[in-house]
Amino acid sequence: MAVAVQQAPYIVFDEEDRIVEVSEFAVPVFGSFLGKNLWDCFPDSRRLYQPHYTEARRTGAPVEFAQYYNGRVMLVKAVPSGTRVTLWYDVIAILDVLTIEGLRESLDSALAKLSAAEETIRREQVRTSLRLVGGRA
């Protein structure tokens, strides 16, 4: 379930959360926002995403999470490097808003995928903690 970083699109933002790099596959979504502040571009997303980036910067360790935003469920991996953060993402579900039946089905599917992804990430965190306790990290 982890974000396949070799294939996933990514962006990099600096210590002031300005987008300073956009990978080729992220251009369709983020290309026009290069050089701009992430939260100016996506103000509604701040409270959903920023705590994870703050944690990544604070701990210096990658943070992986699943999040719904703007009709999509994404697996996100935030990798800190100094004050910069590289954000890999993978869209795992998209809402179908064409018809009410499509909306209901895709909403059920998106929420199920969100829960499954959160559970997988949680289990992986527990495994990592246990490995650390067992001295096998």
């Binding site: 509604d44 997303s45 808003v97 064409l98 018809t99 009410i100």
Partner: protein, 131 residues
Amino acid sequence: MTRTDDRYVVDHDDRIVAVVGHFEDTLGPFLGHSLWEASPQAERLFAPYFAEARRTGRGVEFTSFYAGRLARRRVVPTGQILTVHVTPLEELDVRTLATLSESVLRVEAELARQASERLDPPARASLQALL
């Protein structure tokens, strides 16, 4: 949502022949093409009402959810040509799970209200008596 002048016109083959308001952007590029080509999956939702309007020669009104919005549609026939007036009622807000949840509830409530209104008065009175 106060715009009430959005409308489009289709000919006897459901080809788009005129667009006004919001539809200039969405259906305008499809002038001369079938409405069903421009609006995937809309045919099974709208076509029965179009057929009724053409068959009876009278206007038909219905409420349906399509492409992220709930709207009331009034189909007015002139022979086999139909003018479809569209009044938006609710719009889906997909930004966050909270806004999505709120807007889905509003859409579902409006659909339920419309379904209830479609019941004839005696049937509604019977249902209310049961509650």
